[in-house]
Symmetry: C2
Subunit: 241 residues, 2 copies
DNA sequence: AGTTTTAGATGTCTGCACACATCGGTGTCA
DNA sequence: TGACACCGATGTGTGCAGACATCTAAAACT
């Protein structure tokens, strides 16, 4: 199912557009794509429709299928993110995601302290403690697993479905290695305790403490990650397009 | 083109799914949809493919087209957001967007102070001042227009394409009224100056001041908007799905 | 320069063959 | 006799091929 012709056509075109192989303004013809990908018209059409909804192409009668500039791509779509991570813009995409996460998590922590259901608070504390233990014991694989679980739980606990999906949509589609382009891949002593502090603040409903603790973690994470995003040029998208 | 059969089919099904008329688990048959919407198979198939990429449905052989639960919907897609705003969950969607915006804008302001290109900084200051003037003169339409322009510019100035699209993808697709479910629709004295302060902080590269000013605006905005989101239940999406 | 015509592309419809998940009947075994 | 494993029938999405409709950019013509 994952390797349906339809899916493969989307993957093929999406990758090539985002990598820059098919630059903005490039025009393709459905008929030509049929030959190139060796699939029928319906497959091409369905793939193009999906790419259209992602903002990667537009179709115009009498012209063809035109590739759109990067500013039109839906930057929140999991597929688009995955394609960008596989392209030269990998560093820029990681930075964008990290900045977003760093902005959102403290807010999510504060909301979770106010709104999260009791069982989730409990689980959060348990995961944070288990994570601290795994870190102390040098059990890196378990630490990584718990780290993701912790941040996913926190975002879910906010009760904001957009926050919840930040880790959700992305983390699940992505490989473990890519996810850890967003978070340190080996434990940091103080940060282990900070996670527990955040979890406990959420558990007792202390929003301010939860936010501050999360901000501390995010600041630390950002500084540790910053050098991995090899100096990537920032893209400034014009307001009107 | 906007009212192509394909587009209308997407609109019809998307609206009905998100409104809850077609609940999660509900199974439809392509053939049945052809009859119901009075369109051909190709139209249905292309529409279903798009809805699939938005996480609204999944297709299974021998079963049909199954509606997925809300937790699987892509909450960042502009269409999904629009459909939710037109549904009973309007309040919850506005709250989610406002929380996201409130988390992101201060971060964007700080990044803009560090990275925004010079012309954008200049424009930001000009817009902020024009906005203050319009507010003082009681020119509400112009104030609204400039308000959107200001926040769009600020987000663009961050150089983070995800931030830039928060206003972009959403605001442009949406009606003016909906956008102002996210920001006050008449000027507040002090806030007018705060906008200028933020713009000037960004212009002189003072990240800390820009962030603080933006946080002040966001706190004010949130408290003024909060009562418009009539007590909506929060949705807690399970981590694994 | 403005208008009309035309060619060429997508949009829509239809009939067919195939793959494959599910269901239900059949046979085997305890 | 009853429970269970097997296997074929069935129905559905997937993919294909070809036709006609419709729109529009670009050419041709005033």
């Amino acid at each position: 199912m994952t390797s349906s012709l339809h899916h493969r056509a989307i993957e093929n075109l999406g990758t090539r557009i985002i990598s820059g192989e098919l630059p903005a303004g490039h025009v393709m013809l459905a008929e030509q794509l049929e030959v190139e990908l060796k699939v029928s018209r319906s497959v091409i059409r369905e793939a193009v429709r999906v790419l259209q909804s992602l903002g990667l192409v537009e179709t115009t009668k009498r012209v063809g299928i035109r590739v759109l500039p990067a500013g039109r791509w839906n930057p929140f779509d999991a597929q688009v993110i995955r394609w960008r991570l596989a392209s030269d813009a990998r560093g820029a995409q990681l930075r964008s995601l990290a900045e977003l996460r760093s902005a959102v998590e403290p807010a999510a922590a504060e909301l979770a302290a106010a709104n999260a259901p009791a069982p989730l608070r409990l689980e959060l504390v348990q995961v944070a403690r288990a994570m601290r233990d795994a870190g102390h014991n040098g059990d890196v694989p378990r630490f990584l697993e718990l780290d993701i679980a912790f941040h996913s739980l926190l975002l879910s606990g906010s009760g904001n479905e957009m926050f919840a999906n930040l880790m959700g949509q992305v983390a699940e589609t992505l490989t473990g290695r890519t996810v850890h382009g967003l978070m340190p891949d080996h434990p940091h002593e103080a940060a282990l305790q900070w996670h527990v502090d955040v979890a406990e603040a959420i558990a007792r409903g202390d929003g301010a403490a939860a936010r501050e603790g999360s901000e501390r973690i995010m600041r630390r994470t950002m500084t540790r990650m910053a050098d991995t995003w090899t100096e990537q040029p920032r893209v400034f998208i014009p307001v009107n397009r």
